[in-house]
Amino acid sequence: MTLTNAPRLTSDRLCLRGPEMRDFDAFAEFHADPLRAPGFGPVYRRDEAWRWFACNIGHWHIHGYGYFIIADQQSDAAIGLSGIWNPEGWPEPELGWVVFAGHEGQGIAFEAASRARQWAYGDLGFATLTSNIYGSNTRSIALARRLGAVYERTYDNVYMGEDQLWRHPEPGALT
């Protein structure tokens, strides 16, 4: 059953679609992983991950955007998250990405975040986008650079604490 009104976007290898409950196990596993979760938030127990999963669905209903599930085009299985995130207290709408264990190193986050950014600029009419990244998250910073984003400032995030704000190129600079 669909839980959101998220569109289904495709890129070369991937599909970006709305979250479904069948994606929850993979998400909870990611969020419990002490190696991978900390760039995204604290390590979560399963019930805490469930709350965040419900938040993301509500986020789609409130804003009309949120985190897509990155799915493999063939299997439709969840291999990560990418989308636009903007809860109250966030400095600005954020382009975010996460790739689950076993799917890293294949350019999946780059491909998905590029597609989500294209959607936010082209379909939602965003004029700018940022990404919030921990200074220690060198892999995400490398990806932000590959996406053309530049470091803007360090600030105190209401959820993450000390955090870096990276700004993406404007829509006109990408065409």
Binding site: M1, L3, M21, A49, W50, C55, N56, H59, H61, G89
Partner: protein
């Protein structure tokens, strides 16, 4: 997606929580009123909880309604079902904004949602998890006919489980008539405590 039904009582209309109602929710959940519900919350936490309330409807097919006054449309609180991960059983929950308390809205709304869950959704039992210090909510649970279930699992051991009467116990029973009479004949109490409520 789950279509959220609209429920009515004599004075109230229960509707889906909408983005436009969020400021009312935030005002209460960032106040002392929310102390028995994990609060007070900061703005981020309040927003995330509100989003989770909406997501809960989609995941579970039921959830918490926003309670409006039929005559003005103002919101006065929320009531409905709550069953996030880790909850042992499906809960009937309620919260009334502090400046709307003491008018019988919680009883009227909660009785209506319980009827919906029992009659329309086929629930055979329901519980409410209440902080043992939350005397107002314990009193409401008792007015609804719920009784403390000492053998039932609780959320985290610091709360008490109140079990609602079974559907059969609410059909033409003394407790059902009593609740109905209290709702239908609700008037402002003649004698009210002076001063402000603590919250």
């Amino acid at each position: 997606m789950t279509a959220i039904p609209v429920l009515h009582t004599k004075r109230l209309e229960l509707r889906a929580p909408e983005a436009v109602d969020y400021p009312d929710f935030k005002a209460t959940f960032s106040s002392y009123r929310a102390r028995f519900m994990g609060g007070p919350l900061n703005a981020y936490e309040a927003w995330m909880l509100y989003a989770a309330e909406i997501g809960h409807w989609q995941i579970r097919g039921f959830g918490m309604w926003m309670v409006h006054l039929r005559d003005t449309g103002d919101t006065v609180g929320m009531a409905g079902g709550w069953f996030p991960a880790k909850w042992p059983e499906r809960e009937i929950a309620w919260i009334i904004w502090p400046d709307r308390a003491g008018k019988g809205f919680a009883l009227e709304a909660t009785s209506r949602v319980r009827h919906h869950f029992y009659q329309d959704k086929g629930w055979e039992t329901a519980v409410s998890y209440i902080d043992p210090k939350n005397l107002d909510s314990i009193r409401l649970a008792e007015r609804l006919g719920a009784q403390k279930d000492h053998d039932a699992a609780t959320v985290d051991g610091s709360d008490a489980c109140y079990r609602h009467p079974a559907p059969s116990a609410l059909k033409d029973s003394q407790i059902a008539h009593g609740i109905e009479m209290e709702i239908q004949n609700y008037i402002n109490p003649l004698f009210k405590p002076k001063g402000w409520a603590l919250d």
